[in-house]
Amino acid sequence: MRLTATELSPAERALKQEVREWLDERLPEGSYPLGLGMGGAVDPEFSRDLGAQGWIGMSLPSEYGGHGRTAVDRLVVVEELLARGAPVGYHWIADRQFGPGIAANGTEWQKETFLPGIASGEYSFSIGMSEPDSGSDLASVRTRAEQVDGGWRINGTKIWTTGAYTATHIVALLRTSEDRHRGMTQFIIDRHTPGLTVSPIEFIDGTKDFCELSFVDVFVPDDRRLGEVGAGWSQNTGELALERGGVDRWMSVMALLDRWVRQEAQRPGGHAAELGALTARAWAFRGMSLAVARMVDAGQYPVTEAALIKEMATRFEQDCTDLMVRRWGRTPRPDSDDPYERLLATAVQVAPAWTIRGGTNEILRSVISKGLRKNA
């Protein structure tokens, strides 16, 4: 494995400037609830406005409402959003993985039906993977889709599904046969399908974006099946490079860090070496994410590289959070008048999730080890 160093082209830098200027207008400081990276607030109106700018589903083909742009272009846009703690929660999953997933594996009808709504920011997608007995061992999923006349009947439970309550669609990985890996298939399910009950599970910080999905004889027409029967596992693996190598894995606390560094600048005799070490690593992660985005644009599947970055970047986010809390002077209060202090109080509670969601660090290490052995 050798990542290739890369920089932004003049056109990519111009896009960055354009996004920055638009966000200065659309999201002035104090006008929106500050978020923690991809965990930003759910704001369908903001998502629609962003979509109208052409900055959601950017890599999707233009005939389906996309803009035929690159993974690097998307990185340029999302790093501006995440740096501000922007309300990206509504469209995040659709933009990051299911837009590209449907473009790669969907039927013509699926592309025409779902991609324009993703690109315009009207559709919100959620990932239906984990189950009460299937977390890291994803191949053990039991929620079953049985073939019936004209489609599939689904029974079972999905759990820890972020954003399902406010989503318009859920992409669920379901068991269609007993074959451990080849017995799984992805389906695009309308959030309001009869028989599907979505119940919020209160999260550690009191929020209700985490959900349980109960499927009782849910009927889904066959045209909602994403990809071949049994292709779910490999499709899911292909999405992981998109899910894991991005800037969202080290930018959760960037809005907080920006504010904190300004605060440190006012403070005499600060712990400069800690700040320097943190800054250097943030710059390093940024370079690695950029390198991975270029690989995606070159048609490669940098699954091992993405896992390698996510495993350490999420620990970095936790280290940053801990450093800010230590340097805050007191325990941050969730009911503070200062929105940054409130956000830090949230961050310190939810930080353990960062090394769990999207593949635990333990799973990632074994993914990386296998990848390294293959390359050796």
Partner: protein, 350 residues
Amino acid sequence: MTHEVDPDLRDMLEDFFATEVTPVVVEEAERAGTYAADVWKKAESLDLPWIGIDEECGGAGGSLADLVTLVAEAARRATPAPFVEHHLAAWLVAQAGLDRIEGPLTVSGLTETVEVSGDRLTATLPEVAFAGDASAVVVLAKSEGADVVAVLRPAGATLEPHADIDGTPVPTVVASDAPVVVAPLSVTAEDVRRRALLLRSAVLAGLTRAMFELTQSYTAERHQFGKPVGSFQSVQLHVVTLAQAAEMSQVCVDRAAGALSIGGGEFEVLATAAVTAQNAVQGARSAHQAHGAIGMTREYALQFLTRRVQTWRQRWQSQSDVEDAVAGWALEAPSLSGLIARHREEGVVA
């Protein structure tokens, strides 16, 4: 927009150092308190020590990307030869407009201020690597307030022998009213130190990759409890840590070389120096842990790498000074997120 490292050059360098620099060569040079003269001669015949020096100055040409590749590949085999020192010295000579001086050269004056008066030098120069083997010590000095180059021939000085943690001879060079060739420098002392810091980072990146490779192959071969130790998750953790360190350091070095080559690059070089030192130190710890007792012995090659990590991690500037300097950039930038995502174009921050 991608910093292309010439793959043919990298393959050639990889083969060259893998073939020429065996553990026996490294060990013998250390025991003798000298450099690997045969390796150097062969490298000279391929013009390798002159990569990164302009052809009109008697060099072999090539970009900074080529130069950091050379330095990292030499470090990957723990090559006991002054590729970094020679380059800095030759580059100083070229920047001063002097004629090429046959090597190996070494360099001094990067950490302390050396005053030269007229064409005579009286100074105590500490830790001048390979000074006993060098044809000249090229000193970054001051003369009447200006940055100059002073070329000192070893015959004009006395050497007090010292050795570094990795066995590199680092004598103190004492010059007493010694004759020197002095010439004004066309770049600043800061430019020289920045280049040195980039090359130190390239050495650390090369060492880190080598520690990763050695650890990965050892943990695949070594059996305990009836299976390779690398099949235990707790041991895999060390291999993963090393892979992460190696990839991160290399990408940083390549990006910093790119930034420096278009002018400026101070932030990128400092950030890279901070990252590569942290990664090398963490990597050395993981490599030793995964190897167990054998890695602690002189007969096994890991120690050539990890002792070099200890030498290079703070060469010319302490880790905490580097980190403080990076912090200075963060504190002065309008925003941290803007600083880490900045891109340079023709020397101007975009």
